[in-house]
């Protein structure tokens, strides 16, 4: 019996140790001394297989452009791509980061460039653009360096961006027409917007299609931008009473006013985003703030004959902010991992791959007319835009500034706390804006 127990224990321990070995981080050091050798290897590189992880999955609007570009690169270089693309969500983010922790680093990664990537930057898992340019001076040379987002960890640029996003106000013009109104424009103030909402509500429509339960993110972002302006927008509150803290509180109070006046849907505290946006499709709501990706969704969901009932415009402003100051940016880009950089066979291939996937042509195709890019050349206006895409293009073209979303500059737990929990509680008066700020600051560490 003792022998049996000993054998079972030994096997268990071995299995546990094996599992432990699998989760040990990769220990490949950064081989700074091998740069020259790698350069010469690059010139005579043999075909390699690159493991590429991206969010350009089957349902992504840019999947086709991504696939076409990498297949052309494969044909031109003889290299192959092991495409491990998946739809971006919290699970995917966690999986990507877990892969790095378990030593299963990809060679090239298309991923977020904000706080989400902090652990891989802190762990030295990816190579900065600055370091790559020491050996490949033309790397990302078609981009404006000032437009390439830097990592919050060390201020260095790591990810070469493709097409970014913008946020704007989608409007059901038919509802507005029935209320005797026209869509907000580049001069509409917040007070004028509130008056419009009152008129719309009096006519029996829902002024704003938004789910405070699920996606208060856009209203949160713009109401804060209305209170801290473009220059102060990226300041995260350190206390509830500093300048940023007061602006955030004022922004939350503005949402509360909209809620108390009954401008949101009656079920905004429990509805899903799709449920509230359906009010726009059904001609029951007038306004919805959303991202650039919504343009394609509206085009897909609305008959061509009725597309003219929708437009995209600026979010009304107050304070120092002009309505033409919009939220947007380049939140994702291509990273070259330290693993690929340290591999003499893969270094040149990884650089060549990223360059091929970030040419002007590929990025302009991904931008589809209106999305922000970091390109030096201004994307031309496509010829075959429908009325909604045309409105979106004109809105972005007329923007006086494009500021990133400040919610991407706080920790995920803090973001979940203020956006998924506390914004709606402030709106219905369960907690104060100051309490919400204190909760966020505590969660943000």
């Amino acid at each position: 019996m003792k022998k049996l127990l000993a054998l079972v224990s030994a096997l268990t321990l071995s299995a546990a140790l094996l599992a432990g070995c699998a989760s040990a981080p990769a220990s490949t050091p950064a081989s700074t001394g091998s740069t020259a050798g790698a350069a010469s290897t690059a010139a005579e590189a043999k075909p390699v297989e690159l493991r590429v992880v991206s969010s350009f999955s089957g349902t992504d609007g840019n999947r086709k452009a991504f696939e076409t570009a990498y297949k052309a690169w494969e044909a031109a270089t003889g290299n192959t791509v092991k495409d491990e693309s998946q739809t971006s969500d919290e699970t995917w983010k966690a999986k990507v980061l877990a892969d790095f922790e378990t030593g299963s680093d990809p060679d090239v990664l298309f991923f977020f460039n904000g706080n989400d990537a902090n652990t891989i930057v802190e762990g030295g898992k990816v190579v900065s653009i600055e370091d790559i340019r020491k050996e490949y001076p033309n790397y990302a040379s078609n981009m404006n360096d000032s437009s390439i987002p830097a990592s919050p960890v060390d201020g260095k640029q790591y990810a070469v961006p493709t097409a970014g996003y913008w946020e704007g106000m989608f409007t059901n013009t038919k509802v507005l027409e029935d209320c005797g109104l026209t869509a907000p424009d580049a001069n509409t103030t917040w007070d004028e917007f509130l008056e419009m909402c009152e008129t719309i509500k009096a006519k029996g429509y829902t002024p704003i299609a938004a789910s405070l339960q699920q996606v208060p993110h856009y209203w949160f972002e713009f109401t804060i931008l209305n209170n801290d302006g473009v220059t102060g927008h990226l300041n995260v509150p350190a206390t509830a009473d500093d300048a940023a803290g007061k602006a955030w509180q004022a922004g939350l109070e503005d949402i509360k006013v909209l809620y108390e006046k009954g401008y949101f849907p009656a079920n905004t505290l429990s509805a899903s985003d799709e449920e509230t946006f359906q009010l726009m499709y059904d001609g029951k709501a007038a306004f919805a703030i959303d991202g650039s990706w919504k343009t394609g969704q509206i085009v897909d969901n609305v008959d061509a004959d009725h597309l003219a009932d929708y437009t995209c415009t600026y979010v009304p402003a107050k304070g120092d902010r002009k309505p033409t100051d919009i939220i947007g940016g380049l939140s994702m880009g291509y990273y070259i991992t330290e693993k690929a950089w340290a591999d003499p066979d893969k270094r040149a291939a990884a650089v060549s791959f990223v360059e091929a996937l970030t040419t002007d042509e590929v990025i302009i195709e991904m931008a589809a007319g209106s999305a922000a890019t970091a390109l030096k050349v201004a994307p031309p206006k496509p010829a075959d835009l429908n009325s909604l895409q045309e409105a979106a293009f004109n809105m972005v073209a007329g923007a006086t500034s494009v500021t990133p979303a400040v919610q991407d500059y706080i920790k995920p737990e803090a973001k979940a706390q203020i956006l998924e929990t506390d914004t709606k509680l402030v709106a219905n008066g369960s907690i104060t804006a100051a309490q919400a700020l204190e909760n966020m600051i505590k969660a943000n560490g």
Partner: protein, 297 residues
């Protein structure tokens, strides 16, 4: 006799069958469980990330657990879910089983119909009930308006508990129904015959024969219901994600998910909630086993 004793003396075949299973359990259950305990005392910024070390104080996640008002909500809701499971799932299943047991033709049809929800994925059921309870012109609200109701009912806000619990109860009634029907079938026809000869009424047969002889079956159902209620996750998460409405509908399972894969990214706290769920499960199943102790007949 000699050969039989040799079987028990030779341990090799026993090891061949037992060790792989034990090793599998060790790697995929015991090791993660021990790691989960360690993680609950650690500062882990996101799923998959390395620990930044021990928390200061090391028990701070457990401190938070007892002071977190939403954790209290989750615990109370889980207990309510358990109570409703006992009363409605097992109760309705018992009534349906008694009724079906009394019919001579078509019992197979009812068994299939009542069991059917079990084979549908909880996510699909959640989406279906989401559509049924849809606020603006969902089927239920449309019917109510047709019958003269003067306003749309906000099911997920004004009647959130009913909206969340009803589909869960509905889904598992068939499961207990099948177990109880099987228990009824095991009662000897001789007992019914004797009762008939003695002139027992239908209700007397139910109270004096069926229910007492179903005691062990009902004990099994109640133990399964109690432990099952602790694991309910998918249907509530599909219908009422993120504590809809106003953080009122958290269950221990959904609240744990919020901090692991639900966006809040606090793996240490999520691990502490997981430990709490395990302890609660062990305590309640022990309690259930003692209260609903099976009898020998």
């Amino acid at each position: 006799m000699h050969n039989n004793s040799m079987i028990f003396k030779k341990k090799t075949p026993l090891l061949v069958f037992l060790v792989p299973a034990f090793a599998f359990m060790a790697v995929y259950l015991f090791y993660p469980f021990v790691m989960n305990i360690i993680n609950s005392f650690s500062d882990i910024p996101s799923l998959g990330a390395s620990s930044k070390g021990w928390l200061d104080p090391w028990y701070s996640n457990y401190q938070r657990l007892v002071t977190d008002p939403y954790m209290r909500t989750a615990f109370v809701n889980t207990m309510l879910m358990m109570l409703c499971t006992i009363v409605f799932q097992v109760g309705i299943a018992l009534i349906l089983a008694m009724l079906v047991d009394n019919i001579r033709r078509g019992s197979g049809f009812f068994r299939t119909v009542y069991f059917f929800p079990i084979v549908i994925s909880a996510t699909a059921l959640g989406l279906m009930f989401n559509l049924l309870f849809w606020y603006d012109t969902g089927p239920i609200n449309t019917i109510l308006l047709q019958f003269g109701w003067d306003h749309l009912v906000n099911w997920k806000e004004d009647h959130w508990m009913f909206t969340m619990f009803t589909p869960v109860m509905w889904q598992y009634v068939g499961y207990y129904f099948v177990i109880i029907v099987t228990g009824l079938n095991n009662i000897s026809p001789d007992v019914y015959e004797a009762a008939e000869i003695d002139g027992a009424t239908g209700m007397q047969v139910v109270w004096r024969i069926k229910l007492p002889l179903l005691y062990n079956t009902l004990c099994t159902c109640l133990t399964l219901a109690i432990t099952g209620a602790l694991k309910v996750f998918d249907l509530p998460w599909t219908m009422m994600p993120k504590g809809i409405p106003l953080e009122k509908s958290w269950l221990t399972g959904t609240y744990m998910y919020k901090y692991s894969l639900g966006g809040a990214n606090n793996i240490g706290y999520s691990s502490a909630i997981a430990i709490f769920i395990v302890i609660l499960g062990v305590l309640l199943s022990q309690l259930a086993n003692r209260i609903f102790k099976e009898k020998d007949y």
